[in-house]
Symmetry: C2
């Protein structure tokens, strides 16, 4: 059915696998690249090929970390991520996130100075992902060994994120440590008219008195 | 400012160059790829690297053509594209398009059986692209040598596409061959309410009597 030459169709197919990209957008990418010098294609191709080769996973918090980071030079701490290695950070507070790519969002706020723990996903029973597929055992170990005083559960405000959060809350109860969740409410710059009823309900329930 | 490890940031930067892709979408692509096996990254990376290496340009119509196409085995016609090589096609009609990637759209209609001519762009004086940067000289040669009876000018219905079309019409006048353009009007599935006045004007001007 396709009328494109095979190298073009192959790349369209590969781009179409990316999230939110259909065959039309994929074709637009390919025709954009066709007009670019080979050096630009080489840069993109190499970046894709090397993506996973030059990073590793922090054995403590499961954040993604750059193999060539200058911090990695220190043999003693060779495999920990820069956040876990930073002595300035509060080692007693752990913010639990679904994925490593959630961490930069928290870092950009400049309002969190503790450590992280990456679960590596959420509980999805219908896809065969239970608690044992996530880094929950490892979280419990950190709580037991590192004198943690607070766990912030920062899973996404989705059904699956909530389920995972509730599971964790129950699991952490025996440890009697402070367990918190992020506030719900109106997003900054949001519009009341377009806010769904669950968000508005949370904003009402969590309302605060003017000081 | 970035909190991402360098291999991740590098690929985000590369993806951000693609048309319509901002840093957020680029990051989504990267984190999608991080969860995929290396084989999938290898496939995408290789497809990007090889894109331009395995294709060439038809010296007659400037369509893009696959170097490994079985038709290419024929030494006599080694570099012509499959469309130019097809003896079943009407060799006397040329559809002039801006880019090679416009051709599959016409092929899919199944309603055009002539040949194509790829201009390689449109006239953009403000970007230094004049008629001499396009494959116009080559089009004139084909008209002179191949006994062409009709030229369909199928540039895009944009200001630049129109300018290029008008330029061609004037240039082709001395040859006294039939020169046509695609019909303007309502797109199939379109909505009158959301149709701009130029399109609606064209649809009115080009109205046809029920037979």
């Amino acid at each position: 059915m396709s009328s494109y030459p095979s190298p073009i169709q192959t790349l369209i197919n590969e781009f179409s696998k990316l999230p939110g990209i259909g065959p039309r957008a994929a074709a637009r990418f390919v025709f954009y690249l066709l007009k670019k010098p080979q050096a630009e294609l080489d840069a993109l191709g190499a970046a894709v090929l090397n993506l996973k080769k030059e990073i590793s996973v922090c054995p403590k918090c499961f954040n993604i970390t750059d193999n060539n980071s200058p911090l990695k030079k220190d043999k003693e701490r060779v495999s920990l991520c820069p956040i876990c290695q930073d002595p300035e950070r509060n080692q007693k507070i752990i913010c639990v996130v679904e994925e490593a790519f959630n961490i930069p969002a928290f870092e950009k706020t400049g309002q969190f100075n503790g450590l992280y723990h990456v679960l590596g996903g959420v509980i999805k029973p219908h896809k065969g992902i239970g608690p044992e597929q996530l880094k929950i055992k490892e979280l419990i170990e950190r709580i037991k060994n590192d004198g943690i005083t607070e766990i912030i559960i920062a899973t996404n405000p989705t059904t699956e994120g909530e389920t995972t959060a509730l599971y964790l809350v129950r699991l952490l109860k025996p440890f009697k440590i402070k367990t918190t969740r992020l506030a719900r409410g109106l997003p900054t710059g949001g519009d009341l008219e377009y806010t769904d009823e669950l968000t508005l309900g949370s904003a009402l329930a969590g309302r605060r008195e003017y000081q």
